[in-house]
Symmetry: D3
Subunit: 293 residues, 6 copies
């Protein structure tokens, strides 16, 4: 009997776990985690899921214990892992901003630029990344590993921190000021180099990437649909380049057409007032599960 | 450097907070509240959000500390606030009923009409509103401010209460009987009179109102879509006035058309059986994010 | 004054309660449960809801205390209830598998087939069902009622258990092996025989079944929509029988059509890569509230 | 190598679990339950703990799967289990009342005495117990098994229920009236007859009973300590029989003694005002871990 | 049949509810609150408990709907209630500080003294109290009722607030500075004047006060017990006035005595090092349930 | 004005935080943590508390940012920190066992002794500690840092782990076997060397240590008190060496004495049956807040 091939997929355990499982479900892969077993259930017999800290996934993909995994660009760089990067995703819908590792100091600190860090002590969870950044800028400073709660340390225990942020509001709430950006990071699907050369695994990984991207992009997009008099259509399309490549279908009501387009959700709030002004009627917006161009 | 204008928007803190933030997100404005800061984050640099008790929003809009705010009609009346009312919304999807402040008494109370309240003691959170109501009906009664848990008082501590209700089921569970309605209230978007005269602020507020109404109305509406033989179309439309202004598009299958319409969600359960009877096929219903006529 | 007729509907209290109420809401019936009252609120004046354990609903439907109810096939059989079965639903979206009552034993147990159960002790919540199953297979064994936590008993207190499972993962986590399936069960809408003969009640129940099935089936389905060059359409449709009965509409762009179809969500992950390969563009997927054929 | 003997002890899983584990800890046996294992940890290598529903413990003690267990008198009777009863405890400190299974009916029911139950339908979790009770009183009625939420059924689904209560306040809140008491029940430590004959096991069980009773009785008792002039001592002791067998020690202050006694906590609120009146000074009360006479 | 007299006792609903019920239990009165009933259970048939907002208790005691109640001094003053004050308690063990209503302003506010409040706007939950305070100091300012979240208002909406605090740490965390103290408040047991003249009720209230004070004072006290050589006793007692009125008992070991005393818990951390230095041995500290002098 | 000296004390943030704060409270120091501030409140104006990860406390004590701190022996060794060790505590009452870092492997692993680790890969949170241990035993193996969830890795990702355990039950539940103990660790109070030389700080730290040890030891001890006939006293004391140094006081009842002793809680369950056998009566046990020899 021939053994069925299996794809071993590493997903981030912990703070990103729930969001990742939700994204996988939107992509069409249902996963459930039991408190009694370290092997999560997935409704695809060709995949085996392992939950591993985001910090470690790239290491185990590199070593071949996992065929592929989802993790942040930051940890791939921090671990200096040799892996194949299959694709990049943006997970956070609310902010639409990638994560950034930044140098931060108390608001009233004399440190203003990266060069003021010379001779200082910096606490961070990404020690290698920070050292590389300092080397690149030819700044000599002491970097120490922080086990967490790094923001609090900036006020007393160290001179500066390198910490992750999206909107900066947590730093602001801690009265910290951003001095510089060390690394911009987004989630990535990565593959072990050997697995990527295996035809079956590669096709499986590519399909996973296609569906996952389709699901994630769909979160930031919506369908807009409206009716408009045919005579106003040209003006509408010309003045609104955001409406690129709409699907236009004729309506039974003579002289009117239906316009439908997939669009970034975050420009809708600017667009709808303009559409109304341009003569659009019966504008409706609805959500998408997936979008694949 | 010219300072960018900002719109200061008051949203209700407390029991309505989560629902309001969810509505704002549907309208396209993402807000996140941090336990470390009293200023919520909003992904629109032209707006500043403040979370304030619903009871007080109209007062601070009137005074000009806020340009606009969302609050209930009840508290605008209770505070007797001079503000511009931009729009009215209905938030509760489940009940589709506005809130009502009602006079309630124990089920076995001798009080049957408003006139039986003469000489009695009434507890309520809306003292001004209740006094005005009694004056209007020329009833003299004592009105005392209730700090909460008003329903329980009706049984022992006072003769009647004026309390808010939607479906009346909480009053019923407390064995209370409704005597009369004092005020029907819905959420409103209100603006400070001076801010309303500022062109930039007014346009910003109007767009907010447009998008918020579009999001809120969409919650009570759905899209129905079905295929029908062209010959049955006339009968369908005539017999079902609810299907007013459908979008009709021809199908590649000769003699058949697709009918699509936006409709109140709560009549769907009556409509679908009728549609099937009229020859509709492949009926599908889906949800909307926004609907703007 | 004529009393309005009412339909008394039993819904399962406990672990299935939340899911059932959510399904009812999708079907168009909003229910809210108060901790102060044993009668839930429903926004349909013609229905009265009672929350009753799934195990007992069929008994009270049979006795006529309820006109109809939603419960599992397993408990109808266990109680040997004489009721009219109106329809069958599948509730679990995640697994798409019906519940099964199975005989399970520890992984290292010598029991391999049902016949090895002869002379053994079996613990289960479904004593009648298990006894009937043993009789059918002419196996004599002792069956004892289990008040719960049955899985743990299999290791020490009894020789085998008859327990419910969907994916089998809870059994596996308890190191139990499935020996045989006793009964496959799905949720059913059942009616009292007399109520079913009452014309008003029957129509009310049938509509409820239609809407509930429409809502439940919609959970496992999605709409796929894509654009394709007309010349590729034939190949697409031929090679992909899953796309049966699509709605095809012409686009304003000459030579291109829009294809739209309702499809099982769980095949989408196989289908989308194939669609892309066949020339489809702008593939979007969105969710449904209801689907009624 | 000789195998160390082990005592297998069944403790009630579910609603009584936490309270029982707390009592065991007070008796000196620390138990911790892991979600990953069905075998709880106990810091006594001579004991193995199993968590089993209170309803089933007596059955598995009788069969010898457990050497001993803690369960209610009610379930021993319901299961008609042949076990050795080692001791009786009272767990509920708040009410100081044993549990009672009572016949309850709606407040306005015509059923007033047990004889009015003739020909009626009764729902209960203790079917055998209820049937035995009816037989004893020569009343013929139908008894059906209730899977729970029995109180709600009394209003519509059945004529009466047999339900457990301590203070009766839950029944009162459900507008139910108690007709008669079927059985008064307290927690018991029971042993398998054969285990009880094993000398090692018996001594182990007896010590467990001693310590557990010491811990449980201590919850309902306190130490009162006070100073009093020697001349007032006689009057104090005579007038207050509750202070039986106090420990009296002389103080260095001439003419004064210290009186110390262990006393039921629930009479302290009556006693302290009397003690003050009798001349006691510096009265202090403190809690006990264990009390063994 | 003579009706048994009952004492109606009002306890604060809401944030102080749990602490008050715990104190009552320590005093010997067990109360349990059901979500199904507005009348809590108490294990004393002579008392009826009502849970009412702390703000309103004094009002309903004055009116006679309650015989007595526990509430803060602040609300008695705010409501200007004519009631008999039976006793004063200190509830907060952690801080050992009474609550204070203080005038607070942003740290960088120009307001430094009460006189700087002239012409300003002040938000507070205690409007009467604040107005009285301003009148006393002959300061004219506008006072407006705050429905809550008052601290946040101080930064933008008003010039100052009058807010409650214990340690001031919440104000500090909000970057507010205390300008002056308006009122120091502690919990009180109050009685209706007429009830206080009723002999049975008065005795019942006095006993309740005695036990409650005994329980509350016990929380802030401990028993210290130690052995010491008789020859060192004099020095010990002289140098440590905190050890006033210890109970000294002779030990069987010649030349040694046991010293036992009830002492404020918060001085123990200073005392124990001194006791060791003075020759005390075997020092033990234990907690008290009640202490009545 | 002279600045008051302050002692900066580091307490472990995270999983040990709540337990440590509870211990501090028992020692007489009340700490409260606010979500709005990173500086916890403590009711001693001479102390400033900082919450820092247990892993990092020794580092910041060594550097002088903290005067002293509570952390585990393991992290002092891992960080190789040069600090003064003031005292050792045992925190876990339930197990009475110190934490151990152990080498663990899957139950069916061929690794049996430390020497089988040669050439293997080991994951752990304590990389330095593990490397030192391997060097000491002259074993060459690869050690990699684990960010957490280390137990799961032992099954697939690495050959062995070095993980912390108390009772070993979590390892057992994960089907892991302990190969060897790397380090036994207990909580320590440590001080910066310079702070320790400051007289004021040293006295403050010593008192803190005294009180903390008094509180922690009290958790594992109880007071036993009993009455016994004088003639049986000698036998009792001789046969029960655990009762060393009891306080014996004469009772007013001739021929009887009261015996009181502080004793390890975990031997009480063995002792009480023996005491009864030896003629002791009225045995009571109660808890201690502190015990200082």
């Amino acid at each position: 009997m021939k053994v069925k091939p299996k794809l071993r997929l590493g997903l981030p355990k912990g703070s990103l776990q729930e969001a990742t499982i939700e994204k996988m479900a939107k992509a069409g892969f249902n996963i459930s985690v039991s408190s009694r077993s370290y092997v999560p259930y997935i409704d695809d017999e060709e995949i085996e899921v392992r939950l591993i800290r985001a910090q470690e996934i790239s290491r185990y993909v590199e070593l071949g214990y996992l065929d592929c995994g989802i993790t942040g660009h930051d940890w791939i760089v921090e671990n200096n892992s040799k892996v194949h990067e299959v694709g990049e995703f943006i997970f956070s819908k609310a902010t639409r901003q990638p994560s950034r590792w930044v140098v931060a100091v108390p608001e009233n600190s004399p440190i203003r630029t990266i060069h003021d860090l010379a001779g200082k002590r910096i606490a961070t969870e990404v020690v290698s990344l920070t050292k590389r950044y300092l080397r690149k800028h030819k700044v000599k400073a002491e970097v120490e590993f922080s086990w967490g709660a790094t923001e609090v340390k900036a006020h007393e225990l160290v001179d500066a921190i390198v910490e992750i942020t999206e909107t900066g509001s947590s730093l602001k709430a801690n009265n910290l000021r951003i001095v510089d950006t060390v690394l911009v990071s987004t989630p990535r699907l990565i593959a072990n180099h050997k697995s990527w050369k295996d035809q079956w695994k590669r096709r499986k990984i590519e399909n996973l990437a296609l569906l996952l991207r389709g699901a994630i992009e769909a979160e930031a997009k919506v369908v807009l649909k409206m009716n408009i008099a045919e005579k106003n259509l040209g003006t509408l399309l010309k003045s609104l380049p955001a409406l690129r490549q709409p699907t236009i279908s004729s309506l039974s009501q003579p002289g009117w057409v239906a316009v439908e387009t997939v669009i970034d959700e975050h420009i809708v709030r600017e667009l709808i007032p303009q559409l109304k002004a341009a003569g659009a009627e019966g504008i409706i917006e609805f959500a998408l599960n997936k979008v694949v161009y």
